[in-house]
Subunit: 463 residues, 2 copies
């Protein structure tokens, strides 16, 4: 299916009538919404729309449905697999003006937000309540985008992913119908779990226009620390034992020797050039101290240590700031390079194997060897490859490395992406990972979007 200019003139005229200046065909806006944070080529929408209400989203979808015009929801554009690119043209539906926090319910520890609210804006709004929203994918993404891509991040080991933290949604379907899924009740056995069907559907089934989210109480005390290990396997074994002992880790990040080297060179760190774990504990003062002590005992048994931990916010913030800036520190290992980042997730018993094999693979191309960072409690890790943008051969090598990572994930009983998603980047692995279940996804897509207008070409394949 390619863009049909004649029909697009009609749809743009109809949308302009609905939205006035909030519908733009300006080259600069189309260009802005045609770019992505990763390595995918520019893909311009025919126009960009900025709805302000659910009714407007519904109106836009009715018009687009009538004209068979694709619609691609846009949050902050921070996804890594080209999710929000209008690869078949159509309308980029920018939800950034739907950015109000509609309700905060401290007794129920939940909040109702519009999709354009970013996670940092929400946490700023919550500051006085003693509550916070824990999911932290790194980027300051919009909550609608985070739900659509089933985002997670460093805190998922304790608080879950968007899957566990969305209680209810309002969604506009391809034909403009507005539905509500779920309620503010914590659980229900009344009907199909439509909330979980839309969480992670990457805009291919409808547009999320409102979210009800679980919140957490700010822990009374937080401690964080870091320790070195002789090998990735030793670090992973320590993690497995920690989880089996029921120590409730709030964060548990693995970084490899390359990342340690980058932190030393570019982030002022003074780490052994070996694998490390960065951890955080949440709880009462007594609980946090006990957890850190017990964790310290476990890592000793696995050759790790010394374990340096602190209750001081400034030391903790410095630690996580360094972690969040790993991408930039790593990129400085190869000045001028562009980064290609990919992720996989396996059962934790296979994680050491997955990391070690990937490291061996990367070692074949030392000039491109970025580092490995993992949300190790989830069995999830990221590899960053550093590419010379003027060397086409390197892109091929990088794609081969990423391809072998995906195959490795499946061979080890895992998934080709723990949190980055499918978008256009990993659609080629869907049949491999899901087999006939991928056909079932296409059947569901066809049932709700028979004309394949919602973010076409992503995640599912219909026709």
């Amino acid at each position: 299916m390619s863009s049909d200019p004649a029909s697009r003139t009609d749809v743009i005229a109809a949308l302009s009538e609905l939205l006035g200046e909030r519908l733009s065909t300006s080259p600069s806006e189309r260009d802005l919404h045609g770019r992505n944070e990763a390595h995918f080529a520019l893909a311009l929408p025919d126009a960009v729309a900025w709805p302000e209400t659910t009714a407007e989203v519904s109106g836009i979808l009715r018009i687009c449905s009538r004209h068979r015009c694709p619609v691609v929801p846009w949050g902050t554009g921070t996804s890594l697999e080209g999710h929000a690119l209008a690869i078949r043209g159509g309308i980029s539906l920018d939800l950034s003006r739907m950015n109000r926090v509609l309700a905060v319910n401290p007794e129920d520890m939940d909040t109702v937000v519009q999709p354009g609210v970013t996670r940092e804006a929400l946490n700023e709004e919550l500051r006085a309540t003693g509550l916070f929203f824990p999911i932290d994918p790194g980027a300051n993404a919009s909550l609608g985008g985070m739900a659509a891509t089933r985002a997670s991040g460093t805190t998922a080991v304790r608080y879950g992913t968007m899957r566990e933290n969305v209680l209810a949604l309002e969604v506009v379907l391809a034909d403009g119908r507005i539905i509500r899924t779920g309620t503010r009740a914590r659980k229900s056995s009344a009907g199909y779990d439509l909330t979980r069907l839309f969480v992670g559907s990457e805009g291919t089934l409808g547009v999320i226009t409102e979210l009800t989210l679980r919140l957490q109480g700010q822990p009374e005390a937080i401690s964080a620390g870091v320790c070195a290990f002789p090998s990735v396997a030793a670090a992973v074994d320590a993690v497995i034992e920690t989880i089996q002992m029921g120590i409730p880790m709030a964060r548990m990040e693995l970084l490899d020797e390359t990342v340690a080297r980058a932190f030393n060179a570019y982030a002022g760190a003074n780490m052994a050039e070996s694998p490390h774990l960065m951890v955080e504990f949440h709880g009462s003062e007594a609980a946090v101290a006990e957890q850190a002590d017990r964790f310290g005992e476990i890592i000793k048994d696995h050759g790790g240590g010394p374990f340096q931990w602190s209750l001081k916010p400034e030391e903790r913030n410095a630690l996580w700031k360094m972690r969040h800036n790993a991408y930039f520190a790593l990129k400085q290992l190869r000045p001028g390079a562009v980064g290609l980042t990919t992720d996989l997730c396996v059962p934790i018993s296979r994680l050491a194997e997955a990391v070690t094999e990937t490291q061996a693979d990367l070692a074949q191309h030392p000039e491109m060897g970025g580092g490995i960072i993992g949300h190790v409690g989830d069995g999830n890790f990221h590899a960053l490859l550093l590419l010379d943008p003027d060397n086409a051969a390197e892109m091929t090598i990088a794609r081969d490395l990423a391809h072998r990572m995906a195959e490795r994930a499946l061979r080890l009983g895992g998934t080709v992406t723990g949190e980055h998603g499918i978008g256009m980047g990993k659609i080629g692995y869907m049949a491999l990972e899901h087999g006939p279940a991928w056909d079932v996804m296409a059947q569901l897509k066809k049932a709700l979007d028979p004309e394949n207008l919602m973010n076409p070409g992503k995640m599912v394949q219909v026709n």
Copy 2:
């Protein structure tokens, strides 16, 4: 749609060829599978099938699909809303012979089981591993049935429901296709969440033939206790504060004055005739003691107490045995009565209101007034009504009371069932709770089961 005897003769012949003696049309087996634990009328299947493999389930569904014969999966028959009744005839698919634990992975803290394994059998099998499966709906249900009905129970406040504890499924679709959803990885952003779509679908989308489940480590220490409150509102306020403080309760059950009275009369208890909370803490010895102390402080602020707690397994077991037998104790308040039990779930800030209104409603019919027991941390509670089976007027009154509970749940922003499910008992509330989202459920059902053969007449309405 009514049973078509001619066509059923053909289907039974074909199934007999496949299954031999594991296909029965005997009146006694049909009668056994036509009964239910609740008040619904006998509904006989035309035959009962006992498959032993996924391939056989697939073969059965292919045959039934060809003959347009309904298939109703059967676990242990312990559901409360008539889920497993073959109300349009057809085949009762009894999965009790698919009862093997296929794998236990201690490092990954997961297990792979067939659907006929009961939760008690699984926990027996896990005993030596230091792991356990936490979901406890009371009945010794099959794990396939628990997934199909999105079961939860007393421990959901800590460990979640089946929604959070199923990692992956194997499912046979209406046309006999076998699919696998999810992997053993803890998280994924690769595709629609089919696992969560089948969890809670009550057999209307396919037959679950294998489950991968999360396990938990046996806590090092467990303490449990009970305390009285001056009112339901005071107990609920204490619960809200406990959750806001981040005290990780493992169980938190509310019981009203009627239940306390029944426990005193028929379970050897010596409780004040007032609302009570029964609680349990899991963790290290130090953590459990700290949690109990902090909880003790909170309840004092809400007029509760004294808080008696114990680390002794025998005292704890006696407490939860009494809780699990509440139904039987309550029934003795009115000898000869039959029980009608129903549940709802609301945001916890509205729970006191929901319970108090329901108590006032029950007080209009003191002879039928059973008690109220709630999984209060989830905002979920159950009411038991005691009916004279020879008095038709009482069934009408009971239905009215249950109807007002459902309306109350929706008015207070909740759901008509937190854990009992829809089945045939609550299908009349689906449109009310979900609005146009119920139509979306029907669209999904039609996409996967166009002939409406999988447990027809339950949860969704298609024509």
